[in-house]
Each structure stands twice: as structure tokens, then as C-alpha cells.
Amino acid sequence: MAADTSGRTFSEYLSHHLQNLVYGKLPAGYERVNKDGTVEVLEKDTWTFAYSGEEVSEMGFWAFHVDTLFFSITLGAAFLFIFARAAKNFSMEKPTKLQSFVEMLVDFVDNTVKGTFKSAKNTLVAPMALTIFVWVLLMNLMDLVPVDLIPYPAELLGVPYLKVVPTTDINLTAALALSVFGLYLFFSIRSKGFIGFIKSITLHPFGPWMLPANLFVELVDMLAKPLSLALRLYGNLYAGEMIFLLIAGMVAWQLTFSGIMIGILGTLLSLAWAIFHILIVVLQAFIFMMLTTVYMNMAHEKFEQH
């Protein structure tokens, strides 16, 4: 298969692009292979960046995905900054384009939440929905940045791996889903009371005589929520990124006739997929927001004996 400029094969190119930049601790006595092939034995535990897949698996649990953290926090800060600026420069007479755009988004989220969240009064839900929607949308939109535009210059500067789409990292989507799940539990217990919460997971749906079955059904139902939330976002974005990578990896960097033709074909394919992907990107952000609101609504529902 075609090799890129750094002489990687197709599948090496793919797995290189699917690897996060990991910062973690290598244990003492680990034999580190340098770029020139020499082996260096670490004398004590070292915190460092991983330069190969083996080093990543050696780092175990306490490994930080620096690129995911960097891009997600940067995008979150950008979102807060832009929205705060639009709110600060608010004017009734002369609304700027930015202000109109922000108002449109806020209105959209507000209407969606009003339509879904009906069981109680809670002023936290709509802002949370807005935050989730815009933040996830911004992170998803990083998928439309050409796959080599940021990682390749970074590699020339000495960054071994770089994944620019934070939502293609399951750690981030799982963290988001777990936060939502934590809020779900918190609001459930707050609105029903602890006893009411216990009742709602033990006395439903078959009545008190089937307590173990009720508990089992409710627990599975409950655990499926964060799991499906995290995996849906991750899987969609991961698959989308994978297809972009396949198209990019298909292109041979050769100035021959067939090389140029494949290049043009790759560009067209990339463009087509990007246009289709705009739908997925927005839809997944919307679904994440929508399901969060639905779960919050469920959390506030009063327990009723059926």
C-alpha cells in the first residue's frame, strides 16, 4: 500500500493517527528504545511522554492524554470567552452578528429544554444543556479540520502523537457521560428523597413482591444510560475520523499521473464525507444534549405507585 512522506505503511499511518499523546509514568527498569535504536534502561520511575505503543501500555492507569485535555479545555475556554463577550456587548438597538448568533443558539436550546424538561423547576438544566451542546459541537467540529493539518507540523516540532478531536477519545466521552450520570443520581435523590429513590429502584415495575427482579431491571436500565451516552458519541466520531484517515491514507504522495488522479479522487471523497459529516457532528451534539435533558427530566419525576 501507499506510504506517506515519513515512510510509514498504510496501517502504520492509521495506528499512528489513532494514538493519543500520552504523558505518564514509566516504571523503573523499563528498557526504553531510542529513535536511533539504542536501548536505555530507566533507573527510577520516570514521568514522560510515550514514544511508542508499548510505552503507552506500560504506563497503565495514571496516563494523561495531553492532546485530549489541551484541545477540550481550549475549546471550552473559547466557548466561554465568545459567549461572555457577546453577553457583555449586548445591545438592543444595534445587535452584532455574533450577538444574533448567540441569541439564536440560546433560544434553540431554551425551546428544546422547555419542550422536554417539564416535571419540575430547575434553573440549572438549560444552562447545562447549552454548555454541553456548544462544547460537544465545538469538539466534534475539530473532526472537519483536515487530518494532517495539525498533527504533521506538530510531528516536525517533535510531538510524537497528536489526536485533534477530543471526542474520539473514549476517556473524554465517558467523563462527560459519568458527570451527567452523577447529576442524574444527585437530582433523583434530591427530588425523591433517599427513601423515595430506593423505592423507585426496588418497587418498580413489577410491584413489591418481585423486589430482586425490579432491582435488577432498574440497575441495568440505570447503568445503560452513561454507557450508551459515552459510546454513542465516541463511536460516531471515531468512525468518522477513521473514514477521513482511510481516505487520507489512500492518497499516494507521488507526482505521477496515477498519483495525481488518486490525489484528486481522495480530495473529492474527503469533501463528500466532510459534507455528510457536518450532519453527524451537529446531530450527535444535539442528541447528547437532548438525552441529558431527558435524563434530568426522569430524575425529577416524582415516584408514583402504579
Binding site: 468518522g240 477513521m242 442528541i287
Partner: protein, 77 residues
């Protein structure tokens, strides 16, 4: 080794095909019901559309994951 490689391709092919069947049936049912509902009550269109997109997104998700994993199986693993 040869057989293992062949089975990998068969597996990936099955993943693509089954994902396409599932998503096709799901999206087809959803769209046809949406058209039926709008034809019956055109004034409800604005309310139906967000729910429709939500449903399409939910239908779309699992097959997309399957396709991504199939590509992973084919080219990376």
C-alpha cells in the same frame, strides 16, 4: 494464517452489511412515518422534525460504530 486473514475479511464484510441493513430498515421506517404524519397533519411538521432527527441520530449511531470497528478490524488490528 490464510484462513485467519480470510475470516477477518468475511467478518468485516458481515459487519458492514448487517450495519447497512439495520440502519436502512430503521431510517426507512422513521422517514415513512414522518411523511405519513406530516401528510395527515401538516401543522405538526415543526414539532415532528426535531424528534425525527433525534430518532435518526439514535438509529444511525450503532451502525456507524459497527462500520468504524469494521474498518479498524480491516486495516489496523
Amino acid at each position: 494464517m490464510e484462513i485467519a486473514l480470510g475470516l477477518k475479511y468475511v467478518g468485516a464484510g458481515l459487519m458492514f452489511g448487517l450495519a447497512a441493513i439495520g440502519a436502512g430498515v430503521g431510517a426507512g421506517i422513521l422517514s415513512s412515518k414522518l411523511i405519513e404524519s406530516i401528510a395527515r397533519q401538516p401543522e405538526l411538521e415543526d414539532q415532528l422534525r426535531p424528534t425525527y432527527f433525534l430518532g435518526i441520530g439514535l438509529v444511525d449511531a450503532v451502525p456507524m460504530i459497527s462500520v468504524g470497528l469494521a474498518f479498524y478490524l480491516l486495516f489496523v488490528a
